[in-house]
Symmetry: C2
Subunit: 182 residues, 2 copies
């Protein structure tokens, strides 16, 4: 099962993230949990989230890039769901060996993520907190997928990004099926 933890503060107003979710919603075995729909008051049910994670082999974090990281509710999800003794610590191995894919939509022009650009760094400079969180829980960190989702990006480009994400999930499923049959 592929679990998509989707965190857009205004799901109904999303353009880029919505295009990505629409492109993968019907992929075999995909389950999308929209955190801001589930927990508009930040009252995350840690037990329910952990139960959902336990049946996932691939965990996808999908959100708009807010101040160089995850929106607050997804940070809250990390803080309250990934607890010692479950995901990490001596007896915490629940996520060991799962795959983890980070997909985030960003603003700015094409050059924004560079030393000279408005964000002052390549995108990779902002990856360590998420990557190390996954690794600390024993997950395999897949190559992240930053998607340029600024308002001026044409709908065709967003559709292509959605197709690329779908292809990644399909390839992941094919590889898993191959491994299971080998």
């Amino acid at each position: 099962m592929i679990l998509v933890i989707y965190a857009h503060p205004y799901p109904a107003h999303s353009r880029a993230c919505a295009a990505l979710v629409a492109a993968i919603r019907d992929v075999e075995g995909v389950q999308v949990r929209s955190l801001y729909d589930l927990y508009p008051d930040f009252d995350i049910d840690g037990e329910a989230e952990r139960a959902a994670l336990e049946s996932a082999q691939l965990i996808v974090w999908l959100h708009p890039f807010y101040w160089y990281g995850v929106p607050a509710l997804l940070k809250h999800w990390l803080d309250v769901v990934l607890v010692k003794g479950w995901s990490h610590g001596n007896d915490g191995h629940a996520l060991q060996g799962r795959d983890c894919l980070w997909v985030t939509t960003t603003g700015g022009d094409e050059n924004a993520f560079s030393e000279e650009g408005r964000h002052g760094h390549p995108f990779a400079a902002f990856e360590p907190p998420m990557r190390q969180t996954a690794k600390y829980c024993g997950m395999n960190w897949l190559a992240p997928m930053p998607v340029r989702g600024a308002h001026e990006v044409p709908v065709e480009t967003l559709a292509a990004a959605g197709k690329a994400l779908r292809e990644r999930l399909d390839a992941w499923l094919a590889q898993k099926a191959g491994a299971a049959n080998a």
Copy 2:
């Protein structure tokens, strides 16, 4: 004025952060805003926060390090307080030229923040999101102050960290006073 944005999810149970706050609370001009006391329901008053920021010349972010970054409520603070047209964007210059100091208490042993250590990176690898957020708002990024605050750290070590933080604020005030008199 020095504004300390303090974000400990359980202020009454804090050890390391509490020691730091206690060490600086009576420094001249210091105002501490404890976000989890002010907004236990995540219902941040953006107007009140912006008003507090407007009179600050030094903004201190002080919190325990949660999953390689800020606790969720401080992320929510960044997301809802630092809005386009106020702190950034064409007409947003409210924080231009202010100083920004990041103070965070971390766990793990002495070697934890290294390639071989349990956090897999030096502390500096986790700095870009906070530093670039400050810079994007036109603030001057001061050298951050990570404080080892694991449970086994003796109380004397925490007291020394509090003293060091207080000395930094005193030095900052002295420099400002010197600049004003020059």
